[in-house]
Symmetry: C2
Subunit: 399 residues, 2 copies
C-alpha cells in the first residue's frame, strides 16, 4: 500500500504561502469577449455536479442541443457543444471536414481567417488564402471567381470578424459553393444570437461559435453544427481525423440519442449547465427581439461615437452591431486609453489585433451587455479617457 | 445595416417550449469521476468575469501554476491548465512530444493505455503497445527489456489506471527511460493529490491530469506539466505540431511571464477560478495529509468490502486508494446494482469499462468525497443493492 511510499519520499516543493481568497475585480467587459455573463448563467455554473453518463445530464444535453438549433435556426441533428473554447470548435471544422490534399479556400479579411489558413496547413490541406483589406468583406462576384478557379472542397468565411467588426453576407456565398460542390463553413463566434443568422435558410454546411460573446456565458464551451453535406463528407473520409479529441465521428457515437452511448471524454458538466442556461435566455427573449436589441444599442453607440468625432473602421452597411472597431484618432496612443478606462472605471475595451494593433479599439456590446446604460457609461468613460489624452471635440449631446 | 436582413428572413425553427428551470439532481458521485466538487470550488466557478488578458486574470493564472507545481511536486516552469478535459491534456502530450515516425512505447494495462496508442497512431508515431492483463502493472524488468529492444523516443505509463484501479510505480521506469534517452510521460488523472506523486524526484518528463477526480473541481480544465527534457524535444521539433489548439509552443508564448503575451485562445476563465480554488484547498490541507486521508478512507472501504465478501480486482500492493475496482460476484448483474444505487440512493458508482464491462464496479473516493461518512453510506447502500439482487453474505461489522 501507499504507506511505504509516504514514508520514503519527502516533499521537495514547499507549500506556497497562503494566497488571498479568490476575488476577481468587478469589470464591465465591453471588449471583443469574454463579456459579462448573465447572472443566471453564473448561478447555473455552480449548480451541483452530476455524472456525464447520468440520464439527467443527457437530458440537459438534449435541451442544450434543441436550444442551440433554435438559436442557429437549423434542423441539423448534429448540433453540439464542443468541450473547449471557440478555437477548438474552429479546429473541429478544419480537422473533420478536410483531408490531406483537399483544396481549402479561406476568406481572409481579418485575424481569424489567417488562423483558419494556419490550421488548414497543419492538417495537410492545400490552402488558398483569399485576401481583401482588413475590415472589408467579400463580394459574391469575387467569391465565385475564385471558387471557379480553384474548385475548393471547402470554403471558410468569417460571418462576424472579431478583429475588424465586419459582417460577411453568407447566403449568396452558400449558393455559389453548392453550385460548385463545395462546403461552406462559417465562423459565427461573434454573431450567434446577436446578428441575424439563418444556418438552414442560407444553406451553411457547418458553423462554429463561442460561448463568451453574445450568448453571455463564460468561455470554455463552443457550439458546433454540421449539416447533411458536412456529415456526408465526414462519413466518407478516406483517413482518420488526426485530432482524437475533436474527432466528430467519435463524438457522434457518444451523443447518439438512440442506442448505447460510447464513452469518449468527460463532458465539462458545469460549462454545459452554463451554456444551457444562456441558450434558454435566448429562447425566452426570442431571437428577433434579441437581434433588434443588439441593433438598437449599436445604433446608440455609433451615434455617440460620431458626436465624439470618432470614426468606425467598417462602413455601416457591413458593420456588426455586436462588435465595433473605432479608429484611433491621430496623436492618441491607443493603449493609454484602454488602460485609463480599465484603471479608472473598471471598463474593458479591446485593443486592435494583428495588423490593426494600435489603429483601432474594439468595443463589444454583446448579449447581456447590450443595454442602454452600458452604452451610456461606456461613452462617458471613453470621452473622459480621450480628454485625458489631449483629444478635443465638440461637446456631444449625450453629456 | 441589419434592419433589412431582419425584414427579409423569417424564423423557420420555432422557439422550443419553455423548459423547466435547470435543476440537476443531488448525487453522491462515487464513480470514476466526475466527483462532487468542493463547495468552495462551485462558489468560485460563479465569480464575476474578467478578461483573459486582464492582469488580474494573469495573476490568478500564476497562482494556479504555483499551486499546481506544489501539488505535482515539481519545479517545472511549464506547468499549466489546458483548456479542455483530461483527454485533451493527454493528446497534448502525444501531439507535442512525438513527431511522425518516432517510436512510441505505451504501457497498456487498461483502457487509457489503448487510448494513447490510438492517439499515437493518428499523429504518425510508430507505436509499440506493451500489454499485460488489465489490472496488473509493469515491472521494471519488463519495461527495461522493451525499452532496450525498441529504443522508443517516448514511453507512456498510466500512473493511476481509472479503468482498473492499478497504481504503476514510476521512479524506476523513469531511471530506465533516461538511461536509454527516452522521455517518460505519465497519466496522473486519477492520482493527482490523492496518491503520492513526485514528478521531480521521480524524474517524470511530462504528466497530465484531470480536474474532476481528486482535485474536486468539475471537468473542463486539465493540468499539464513538461520538464526540461520534454521542452527540449518540443523546441527541437522538425515539423509543426498538427494540432493548433494544443500546440504548446503557441501556448507557451501566451503564458510567458516575461515580455508580451501573444493571444492564442480565450482561456476558460471560470474553470480557471475553479481549478485555482481546488488547488488552494490542496495546499491548505497539505499534500501528505491529503494522501493519508485518501489512504485511511480507502482502507475503511476495503475492510467493508471484505466483510461483504467482495473481492477487489487489484492486489492491495498496487491498488489505488482513489479508485477501487470491485469484482462483480457470480450471478449478480453489474448494471442492476449501479442502477439500483442511483435510483434509490442517488449514489453513482461506475460500471466496468472496456474489457472489464460487466465484470467490475468502479468506486472512487476522491478529493472532497474521500470522507468517512461517504464510505459508510456507500457500503450500506451497496449492501442493500446486492441484497436486492439476491446476494447473500454474513452480516458485516459495519451494520
Amino acid at each position: 500500500m501507499q504507506t511505504s511510499t509516504l514514508k520514503q519520499a519527502k516533499l521537495v516543493i514547499e507549500k506556497p504561502p497562503l494566497f488571498e481568497p479568490l476575488d476577481p475585480p468587478s469589470r464591465l467587459l465591453c471588449g471583443p469577449g469574454p463579456c459579462n455573463p448573465h447572472p443566471r448563467v453564473l448561478k447555473a455554473l455552480s449548480m451541483q455536479e452530476i455524472g456525464h453518463l447520468d440520464s439527467a445530464f443527457l437530458h440537459i444535453m438534449e435541451e442544450t442541443k434543441t436550444l442551440l438549433r433554435y438559436t442557429w435556426q437549423t434542423n441539423n441533428e448534429f448540433t453540439i457543444p464542443v468541450s473547449g473554447t471557440g478555437s477548438a470548435a474552429m479546429e473541429a471544422c478544419v480537422c473533420n471536414l478536410l483531408e490531406p490534399g483537399d483544396k481549402f479556400l479561406v476568406g481572409c479579411n481579418g485575424y481569424f481567417g489567417h488562423r483558419l489558413v494556419e490550421m488548414g496547413h497543419r492538417y495537410g490541406a492545400s490552402v488558398v488564402s483569399l485576401q481583401v483589406p482588413w475590415g472589408q468583406i467579400f463580394s459574391a462576384e469575387v467569391l465565385e471567381e475564385h471558387i471557379r478557379k480553384h474548385r475548393p472542397k471547402v470554403l471558410a468565411l468569417i460571418h462576424a470578424e472579431t478583429s475588424t467588426g465586419a459582417c460577411q453576407p453568407l447566403k449568396e456565398a452558400a449558393d455559389i459553393c453548392h453550385h460548385y460542390d463545395c462546403l461552406l463553413v462559417a465562423d459565427t463566434v461573434t454573431s450567434i444570437s446577436g446578428v441575424p443568422l439563418h444556418i438552414d435558410q442560407w444553406n451553411v454546411d457547418a458553423a462554429y461559435a463561442g460561448s463568451q460573446k453574445c450568448l453571455s456565458c463564460p468561455p470554455g464551451i463552443a457550439p458546433l453544427t454540421f449539416g447533411p453535406r458536412a456529415l456526408d463528407k465526414l462519413r466518407k473520409r478516406r483517413c482518420k481525423v488526426k485530432n482524437w479529441y475533436l474527432d466528430m465521428n467519435l463524438i457522434a457515437s457518444y451523443l447518439n440519442k438512440n442506442g448505447s452511448r460510447s464513452y469518449h471524454h468527460t463532458a465539462p458538466i458545469n460549462m454545459c449547465y452554463g451554456l444551457r442556461e444562456a441558450l434558454a435566455l435566448v429562447a425566452e427573449e426570442g431571437l428577433e427581439q434579441r437581434w433588434l436589441r443588439h441593433e438598437r444599442n449599436a445604433l446608440l453607440l455609433w451615434k455617440g461615437l460620431a458626436e465624439l468625432g470618432l470614426e468606425c473602421l467598417v462602413p455601416q452597411q457591413h458593420r456588426l452591431p455586436t462588435l465595433t472597431t473605432i479608429q484611433v484618432p491621430k496623436g492618441i496612443q491607443a493603449t493609454a486609453v484602454t488602460s485609463y478606462m480599465l484603471q479608472n472605471f473598471g471598463i474593458e475595451i479591446g485593443n486592435g489585433l494583428g495588423e490593426l494593433e494600435g489603429k483601432v479599439w474594439r468595443v463589444g456590446l454583446m448579449g447581456y451587455n447590450s443595454r442602454t446604460e452600458v452604452v451610456k457609461t461606456l461613452l462617458v468613460a471613453l470621452q473622459t479617457a480621450l480628454l485625458q489624452q489631449g483629444y478635443s471635440f465638440i461637446r456631444p449631446s449625450f453629456m
